[in-house]
């Protein structure tokens, strides 16, 4: 059974290789090859899942050692995989949602001449993401980590002829690289501290605790903070969040799969996977919760102000991942709920993005919500599935988001002390803002009067429902958005499933679970009501009003990009330009200067050779006189 793990990765990798090397002759069938191989991977995942379920809860870890990768001195990195409950959860999410989105893309990318390559990149992404969650050591995880970064780069920049897409892709890769510094240093620290970075000995296996706890708290805090930096880059957390909004330049299925459901949650995976390290570093955990809380508010505020439907959803993604990071930072109280929210979020956010893609498909690729309006009659399936996703994300009672988000808010209060109150308050406030901006998106898109505008070439939009290959994935995901949360929560199924890997503790909450639920309901209603008052009862202007200072700031991502631009981009440009100058004038100048001064000296010496016989005679007599004088002088001394 273990040998199936490698095949899980091999299937989409094979697909990527075939599609990218195969060339144009595969254009006709490429998309089906890609979809088939990702489904094959999903089937393998299901087989492995049923195998795990048939085992005892403590015995659900499978490992596969393929070959020794980098054996140098005391440094040992292997290509080895580990499948336990945590990675299994991710495998099912990745291959499941991934296959659905492959299917969706068959329709969505139908008119793109480079569709084969798109599927090649999608398969490459799946392989890298699976490698990331299945790796048995941090260095192999790093390979997957950068692999998804590469796939994300290729897919964001898929429409390379658009300079904005190419720039966004580059930005995403670069910001992620800053995070990668964190992962590199974390691995180096692990190696110097423990002499290994493999999961087994480090984090513990088969009930044995790992050696992670043996190190000093300072060391553990340093490692944990570096891992957090990596997570911030990949999961678009403050301060490395700026790439996610721009990443929406990519095709919508990419936004759904990579920038909502799977890749951006890799940071949460990293933190939960490294629980043994974080548990020993309370200071680092506090930083994690702060990052999560700040990001969940940051993303929510940005999401309120965007008129671009995908960017509004991107802000929302950032905010929801903020919830997960917050939960992961709470330690054993929150790990399980972080992952649970991650899974339910995977369903409803992928569904929302696919819905947005469906809307764009029918509206000549228009993304400005101010030019939508009244679409519910024209796209009934999209409306219903998007609506269910909407209810799920705002936490409508009974739907997925209700269960998972509620638990996180509860856990935040359970942290105890002032921190608990502050974090819980932030989480509650975030829930209110979520309700507000999602209602806004919903109202602007599907309700109100038509505000459609002809596109740049003068085509009037003719909104229509999307083809079946697109609606089926949306329906399946909507199904997941409605029922997943309830299914997981009944009898604490998800908790019992993950507990052996992540551990769990209850903490003592100063407020009862019921109070939290009620409070959440209240803020939910308030958020929806404000949005309705603003966008439901009044007509939406086609041109965005100037708005308050906060709105304008939020439209510009709270000036984060401007800061980056002024400090990093401009500053960097000046630095490199002046360095080029220095290299040319100073470093090279010293050498050239030496050469020039030798040349100048010889030029001057040359003038002594004036060609007059008598001046030569003078120098001869002078020289002879000096020689004689010197000889006499030496004699005398």
């Amino acid at each position: 059974m273990e040998n199936l793990i490698a095949l899980l990765i091999a299937a989409p990798l094979l697909g990527a290789a075939v599609l990218l090397v195969g060339g144009r002759r595969l254009d006709a069938v490429g998309h089906w090859i890609g979809t088939l191989l990702s489904s094959v991977s999903f089937v393998f995942g299901v087989i492995l899942f049923s195998d795990l379920l048939s085992r005892d809860a403590e015995d659900r870890t499978l490992t596969q050692h393929l070959f020794s990768w980098i054996p140098v001195g005391g440094f040992q990195a292997d290509v080895a995989f580990r499948l336990d409950q945590l990675s299994m959860t991710f495998v099912l999410l990745i291959t499941g949602v991934g296959s659905l989105i492959h299917l969706y893309s068959v329709g969505y990318m139908e008119h793109d001449e480079r569709r084969r390559r798109f599927f090649g990149y999608l398969n490459l992404f799946l392989a890298a993401m699976l490698l990331l969650v299945l790796a048995d050591n941090y260095l192999l995880l790093y390979v997957g980590w950068e692999g998804v970064g590469l796939a994300s780069y290729l897919l964001i920049g898929f429409w390379q002829h658009k300079p904005s897409a190419a720039t966004a892709a580059k930005k995403a890769f670069l910001v992620n690289r800053v995070g990668d510094i964190g992962l590199s240093i974390a691995i180096m620290l692990m190696f110097t501290t423990f002499g290994t970075f493999a999961f087994g000995p480090l984090l513990g296996a088969e009930g044995e605790p790992g050696i992670a706890g043996d190190a000093s708290e300072g060391r553990l805090t340093a490692i944990a903070l570096m891992l957090l930096l990596a997570a911030c880059g990949k999961s678009a957390q403050v301060p490395l969040q700026s790439w996610l909004g721009d990443a929406m330049e990519g095709p919508t299925p990419v936004s759904a799969l990579i920038h909502a459901a799977t890749m951006v949650t890799a940071g949460v995976y990293l933190i939960v996977r490294s629980a043994a390290i974080f548990n020993g570093a309370p200071d680092a955990q506090l930083v994690v919760t702060v990052v999560g809380a700040v990001t969940l508010l940051f993303g929510a505020i940005v999401g309120c102000a965007k008129d671009d439907i995908k960017k509004a959803l991107a802000g929302s993604t950032m905010s929801q991942i903020g919830y997960m990071v917050l939960a992961a930072g709470l330690g054993p109280i929150g790990y399980v709920f972080a992952i649970m929210h991650l899974v339910t979020h995977g369903f409803f956010k992928a569904g929302l993005f696919l819905g947005a893609g469906s809307v764009m498909h029918g509206m000549n690729d228009e993304v400005d919500m101010r030019k939508y309006g009244g679409l519910r009659k024209y796209m009934p399936i999209t409306f219903v599935t998007f609506g269910l996703g909407y209810l799920a994300i705002i936490g409508f009672p009974g739907l997925s988001g209700f269960f998972s988000k509620d638990k996180i808010i509860e856990a935040a209060f359970a942290k105890g002390g002032t921190e608990g109150w502050i974090l819980g308050g932030c989480a509650l406030l975030g829930a209110a803002i979520t309700a507000y901006y999602m209602t806004r998106v919903m109202l602007m898109t599907f309700f109100g009067e038509k505000r459609w505008q002809p596109d740049a070439e003068g085509h009037e939009p003719h909104p229509h429902e999307s083809p079946r290959s697109m609606t089926i994935p949306m329906i399946v995901l909507a199904f997941g958005s409605v029922f997943a949360g309830g299914f997981f929560s009944i009898g604490d199924r998800f908790l019992h499933w993950l507990e052996p890997v992540t551990g769990h503790s209850h903490g003592d909450s100063p407020v009862s679970a019921l109070t939290v639920t009620l409070a959440t309901m209240v803020v939910l209603v308030v958020g929806v009501a404000i949005a309705y008052a603003q966008y439901g009862r009044r007509p939406v202007p086609i041109v965005a009003p100037r708005g308050s200072l906060l709105t304008r700031a939020a439209r510009r991502d709270l000036f984060q990009d401007d800061f980056n631009h002024v400090v990093l981009v401009r500053g960097g440009e000046h630095l490199t330009r002046s360095l080029v100058y220095v290299d040319h004038t100073l470093v090279d100048g010293v050498v050239n200067g030496t050469a020039a001064s030798v040349g100048g000296l010889s030029g001057r010496l040359r003038r002594v050779q004036n060609g007059f016989a008598r001046s030569y005679a003078v120098s001869m007599f002078g020289g002879a006189a000096v020689l004689i004088a010197a000889t006499l002088l030496m004699r005398a001394v």
Binding site: F67, G73, F75, Q160, K170, L174, F191, R577, V580
Partner: protein, 531 residues
């Protein structure tokens, strides 16, 4: 007496050079094929060396030793350790690609270069000369990797400059923003600069070589190193330091290490791309290799004494080279500065004095050779299509030549050390090896990976993406010959990224030997040390 395998690996390209040069003027294509055949035969011999080499055997294997200048104790001594084998194979591997990539570069009829074609009818034979010089360089580089006699090494280390000078000055890149006249001036400037820098380095080394002879009484690396190790040869601290500096200076110029690097961008920018690859992927490796073999073995104490300063210079090279690469407007100069950054990593790994660092550095030499060859040769194909080296002259190439763009991207990703490709393994080993002993320097060096991503992706974005520029709209995609050059290099990059074990297995024992020469052990992990 057994067959002198190592001499043969160097003699074969040398014979090839003579024969290629002797091909009559009119039969240019025969000269090209002849050169290719000889380079492939050398590769075959190098593979024989690789197979015959036993990683767990003695330190120097396949040794040859003959008396040469008995009065001065000079012996013709050859021998390879794991590091030498890896680099001999790398050299022999890259030369056929360089020859294939430069197939038309020195052909007066193919390039349409007036200054060359006016001679084509007469006895002037540029094509023959070009390929003969490349083979001559190959012969000298290979023997430098094999020499275990300091004097023999020195001779070929210096003699290499002669064919390199003619390759840079005689066969420059004709693509220049200010026309051919400016290109010609720039070219001679670059060639002279290359020669002067390396000559000065070589002269200082000559003084140190003589000094070493005065102190030790012979030139044999093995004998001196052994005498150093068992204490029969004592050097005064200051003497050792001066001799070390003399050797190191020459190697630092060749490597090149900041601030002795400024000859490289000129030389790489003005020469044809195959020659640029020859410089950075092959010839410069002699410098870093010699640091590992000669500096550390002959002067272990002085090496340790100089380590902090060298590490700082190496880190400056990494960051400085990367920052300057970001600021370049010229594709080839950009790659040159990127190489300076990478050489910083190699030197960092060597002087970190850990097994990870030194294995990583050796692996880095191999991987950098392959990855730079891939990137630079594709860049050369791109430049030859448009006739310009300026980044700003390109745009949207991806649309018209997707295969070219794809291979360029893979070369670029290798340059930025993407995990899964070969350079990642070596770069990470160097970083870990450095971090173990010098955490602060390791962290600063890690920032190089962000800058590497910056210059690579900016280059890719500006040349390959965006709207198609009218000048590139008719650009043909890679031809069969060009694909034949690039595809094997890419396959190697992926293979060595996924499975570097064959190389590390050969290199690792040699590195352990070198480390024991300098009496250094890897630091213990903190947790184990505490127990």
């Amino acid at each position: 007496m057994s067959f002198p395998l190592l001499t043969a690996t160097a003699a074969l390209p040398a014979i090839g050079a003579v024969l290629t040069a002797a091909v009559p003027a009119a039969r240019r294509n025969a000269a090209k094929s002849l050169a290719l055949v000889f380079s492939l035969a050398t590769l075959a011999l190098a593979i024989v060396v690789l197979v015959r080499f036993d990683p767990d055997g003695g330190r120097y294997q396949l040794t040859e030793s003959h008396s040469w200048i008995a009065d001065f104790g000079v012996r013709y001594e050859l021998g390879v350790d794991g590091i030498g084998v890896a680099l001999v194979v790398l050299t022999a591997l890259l030369i056929p690609f360089i020859i294939l990539a430069g197939w038309h570069d020195a052909d007066p009829l193919e390039t349409g270069d007036a200054s060359l074609s006016s001679y084509a009818a007469g006895r002037w034979r540029p094509t023959q000369g070009f390929f003969a010089l490349i083979l001559a360089v190959e012969a000298m580089v290979i023997i430098s990797f094999e020499a275990t006699d300091v004097f023999v090494f020195y001779i070929f280390f210096e003699a290499m400059l002669i064919p390199m000078y003619f390759l840079i000055g005689g066969f420059g890149d004709r693509a220049h923003e200010h026309g051919e006249e400016a290109a010609s001036t720039q070219r001679s400037y670059a060639a002279v600069k290359f020669l002067l820098y390396n000559l000065v380095g070589g002269l200082i080394m000559l003084a140190a070589v003589i000094g070493l002879y005065v102190v030790a009484g012979n030139f044999s690396l093995t004998e001196i190193a052994e005498a150093r190790a068992n204490g029969t040869l004592d050097m005064a601290t200051n003497t050792e330091r001066w001799l070390f500096l003399g050797f190191f200076f020459a190697f630092a110029v060749k490597a090149p290490l900041w601030p002795l690097h400024t000859w490289l961008p000129n030389a790489m920018g003005e020469s044809t791309t195959p020659v640029a690859v020859l410089i950075t992927a092959v010839v410069d490796k002699v410098g870093t290799f010699a640091m590992l073999r000669f500096c550390l073995q002959l002067f272990p104490e002085a090496s340790k004494w100089a380590t902090p300063a060298i590490l700082v210079l190496a880190v400056i090279s990494i960051i400085y080279g990367a920052l300057l690469a970001v600021g370049q407007r010229d594709i080839k100069r950009l790659v040159a500065y990127a190489s300076i950054s990478h050489f910083g990593f190699i030197i960092l790994g060597i002087f970190a004095m850990t097994s990870q660092g030194q294995s990583g550095a050796t692996l880095y030499m191999v991987n950098h050779g392959i990855s730079t060859a891939a990137l630079m040769l594709v860049a050369g194909f791109l430049i030859s299509r448009r006739g310009s080296r300026l980044i700003a002259d390109y745009g949207g190439v991806q649309k018209v030549a997707p295969v070219l763009a794809g291979t360029f991207l893979i070369g670029g990703l290798a340059t930025l050390s993407l995990p899964g490709l070969a350079p990642f393994v070596s770069e990470f080993l160097v970083l870990v090896g450095t971090f173990e002993r010098y955490p602060a320097i390791g962290i600063v060096a890690t920032f190089g990976i962000v800058l590497a991503a910056l210059y690579t992706l900016v280059l890719y974005q500006r040349t390959m993406t965006g709207p198609v520029k009218p000048e590139v709209s008719a650009m043909p995609d890679l031809r069969a010959r060009e694909l034949l050059v690039v595809a094997p290099l890419i396959v190697l990059l992926i293979f060595l990224g996924v499975y570097p074990k064959p190389v590390t297995d050969i290199v690792d024992p040699a590195v352990k030997q070198t480390l024991s020469d300098v009496h250094k052990k890897d630091p213990q992990p903190e947790v184990e040390a505490a127990k």
